[in-house]
Symmetry: C2
Subunit: 173 residues, 2 copies
DNA sequence: GCGATTAGCTAAGTTACTTAGCTATTGAAG
DNA sequence: CTTCAATAGCTAAGTAACTTAGCTAATCGC
């Protein structure tokens, strides 16, 4: 008897080539693979600096978000999509390593402000070229046009993903 | 004194808009966010079927890879980028749940062949519409042209990521 | 001024994996 | 043919990257 193929994973005609969802599945596969590569690159880079991948992520986020004053724990948590507890713990380790500074907020006595220490800033500067080299290698073949295109497409997909997640939040429960 | 901004994360001019890497960082952020959405969707879908996200991933991979005969543990492992030990363990649970079948390979006495059971095939059929709905919602706004474009760009990025990873494998030890 | 939120911390738990080490079998090279 | 390195799969133990729960203290909304 003839084998029945698995049902299609998508029905939208624009995403089916020759009636098959093969290309679509390959795309999803490649998207996940790319994400893993980005995490692996971050992790490698972080290891050279003596921190873990997630710590490096927090470190870079804090470098970005801390203005003159610093950034709150929740501020970092929201930006990174993790819980405050995780930021507390990992940022604490980085403070222990002398890469971050933590001071009490002058405007909210519950709050705390995270920022790079002098040592942290030096580390960041020294890491710059390595980060650039990785990103240039991975993304360097993109033209400005392709970059804009990709940017817009990915934004649409993120919006679509948000909708899909919202859907099944309302569907059941 | 004027604050020094963090060093750029990329130098390639095509990726800098107005001399800033802000758009580039936003892109990376969105790419990671999209990957998280895909995992979250898989996880939700899996939960409705009573399995975990990774188990569902293995299940779908086996549905794809098992031809007439089935697919080996390593075959699945390589496709999914995990170790054989993990496939052994999780597929074992799915066998226990009656969704997969495991038989000894007729050509290699070390090997086993994984395939869907009748119950597994029924589950897969029943999950089809839900999977399609999610993917259609998330990716449905793409035109065929955009889909092809995205596919090509992502392939290039994966290739770039491979190069970047290879680089730092050779650079240091 | 009082209840509901919010900030941050700590401790314990969970998930999705990996590594290490074993046995059985195979393929390939002499 | 033999042997020996590589491969398939399994089990048990370990680990990384988080989360949840529960607490205290401070602030916000009315």
């Amino acid at each position: 008897m003839p084998r029945r193929p698995p049902p299609l994973t998508v029905t939208c005609p624009a995403l089916l080539v020759g009636g098959s969802d093969g290309a679509f599945r390959a795309l999803i596969n490649n998207l996940m693979r790319m994400a893993e590569q980005l995490l692996a690159l971050r992790s490698r880079l972080a290891a050279e600096l003596g921190v873990t991948g997630p710590q490096f992520g927090l470190f870079l986020a804090i470098a970005q978000l801390a203005g003159e004053d610093g950034v709150s724990v929740v501020g970092v948590a929201r930006h990174q999509g993790v819980t405050g507890a995780f930021v507390t713990a990992e940022a604490g380790k980085l403070v222990g390593r002398g890469l971050l500074e933590k001071r009490d907020s002058p405007v909210d006595r519950r709050g705390v402000l995270l920022s790079l220490s002098a040592k942290g800033r030096r580390l960041l500067e020294s890491a710059g070229p390595a980060i650039q080299a990785r990103n240039d290698t991975m993304f360097g073949t993109l033209s400005a046009r392709e970059f804009r295109m990709l940017d817009r497409l990915v934004r649409r997909l993120v919006a679509g993903g948000e909708r899909a997640l919202a859907d099944l939040r309302t569907t059941r429960h």
